[in-house]
């Protein structure tokens, strides 16, 4: 029969059309922005700087090693190292970035900066509601706008954050054990030194 193929095709279209009333599989429209798809954990939008604790500046993990700046393919990261040092989470004095800018209109979300960072300081955000009406400065994120807390990191990427926290905790424990061992050794050395030196007699008799 002429047109049989077209009729078969129309039967298929009808099946999809009426099926969309009964089966969720066939009605895949999500009424954005009232309805949103579930956030996928591994998603990445643009980088952000992680800070531990309450203060974004004191707790920043970034030590301005500039490795991410060198490895960034479109060169959208701009870092200026500080002249002084501030103590990091382990108490060790480290440099910090005086300026840390990311131009997110250039950034292509490739995640290479996250891969190469040795300090787990830069991670990928999932936020995509970033539109602004400031054409030039609005998409150049500075240090403060980039800094987000470790709690936020745990909220958006639970598995990855848990792994990073575990790794940092192990590192911190190792540093503390080393510091404790060094302090104990120093105390033992001091004690030996005081034992070796004869104590001054209180009465002032000549020795």
């Amino acid at each position: 029969m002429v047109g049989e193929g077209i009729l078969k095709g129309m039967a298929e279209t009808a099946r999809n059309f009426f099926g969309s009333y009964v089966s969720k599989d066939r009605l895949t429209t999500v009424q954005y922005p009232e309805q949103r798809d579930a956030q996928i954990e591994a998603a990445r939008s643009f980088p952000f700087l992680v800070y531990d604790g309450a203060d974004w500046h004191d707790g920043m993990r970034c030590v301005a090693c500039q490795i991410c700046e060198k490895e960034c393919p479109p060169k959208c990261i701009f870092i200026e190292k500080s002249k002084d040092k501030k103590p990091d989470a382990n108490g060790k004095p480290q440099f910090y970035p005086a300026t840390f800018n990311i131009d997110i209109s250039v950034c292509m979300s490739c995640q290479i900066c996250v891969e190469v960072c040795p300090f787990d300081a830069i991670m990928m955000d999932v936020d995509t509601d970033l539109s602004t009406d400031d054409r030039f400065g609005g998409l150049l994120l500075d240090k403060q706008r980039l800094s987000k807390s470790n709690e936020y990191f745990n909220a958006i990427h639970p598995t990855e954050a848990a792994a990073v926290d575990a790794r940092l905790a192990v590192e911190r424990a190792r540093q503390e054990a080393k510091a404790k061992a060094a302090a104990e050794a120093k105390a033992a050395a001091d004690a030996k030194l005081t034992a070796a030196t004869p104590a001054q007699p209180a009465s002032g008799e000549p020795r």
Binding site: F78, S105, F136
Partner: protein
């Protein structure tokens, strides 16, 4: 697929051709045959039609720019020092002339072997950039040789339609050459800062240029 055997077969069938084996030091084990420009078409026809070779599929045509470079080497010379002949070290600088190179990767659909890498070099990078086109042998070279002409400047004699492919017709200069200088009058960043912004401001004569704040590196 023995490159030596292929070389001798082609040399037997194309009298007067000068083929050279170019070793490839990387682990990829893909060594090449360099042909002279004069006999290249005949060599290509033998590679395509010989019964045991049948390289009928030209997969890739690439251009490479080798600019001229200065090579300095220490040479021992006999010099007269205070009337006594002595041997001394002298640094001799030679200029290795540059050229453009075209590389063809050939495969065989019939025999399912490959790749055979065929190369040709131009005489220099200025006036002597003519090479024979292999488009009459393999049609797939048509657009790719146009691209090599466009981006490197190699002129293929015998190409049916040699004009620019990716750049627009009025464009001058060949962008993929190593000494290509970008024009300074384009801003390739929407939020220009640092060097790009300074160049753009310079070109615009600072009319309407945006002043950089200290945080942006101004």
């Amino acid at each position: 697929m023995n490159l030596e055997a292929i070389k001798s077969e082609v040399e037997a069938n194309v009298p007067g051709c000068r083929l050279e084996m170019v070793a490839n030091p990387s682990p990829s084990d893909q060594h090449s045959l360099r042909s002279d420009a004069e006999h290249a078409v005949a060599v290509a026809i033998v590679l395509r039609d010989a019964a045991n070779l049948r390289f009928d599929f030209c997969s890739n045509v690439t251009g490479i720019d080798w600019p001229s470079r200065e090579v300095s080497e220490k040479v021992k010379v006999k010099k007269l020092v205070d009337g006594v002949e002595q041997e001394a070290d002298e640094i001799r600088k030679t200029v290795v002339p540059g050229c453009l190179e075209v590389v063809y990767h050939l495969f065989s659909v019939e025999k399912k072997h490959g790749p055979l890498v065929l190369r040709m070099r131009t005489q220099d990078r200025d006036a002597g950039v003519h090479l024979p086109s292999l488009t009459p042998v393999w049609r797939s070279a048509e657009l790719q040789e146009r691209e090599v002409f466009d981006l490197f400047g190699v002129v293929f004699d015998g190409h049916p339609d040699l004009r620019r492919l990716l750049m627009w017709p009025g464009f001058v200069d060949h962008p993929m050459r190593r000494d290509y200088v970008d024009p300074d009058d384009y801003e390739y960043e929407p939020t220009a800062h640092d060097e790009v912004l300074r160049r753009a401001q310079q070109h615009r004569g600072d009319a309407g240029g945006k002043q950089l704040s200290e945080a942006e590196g101004g």
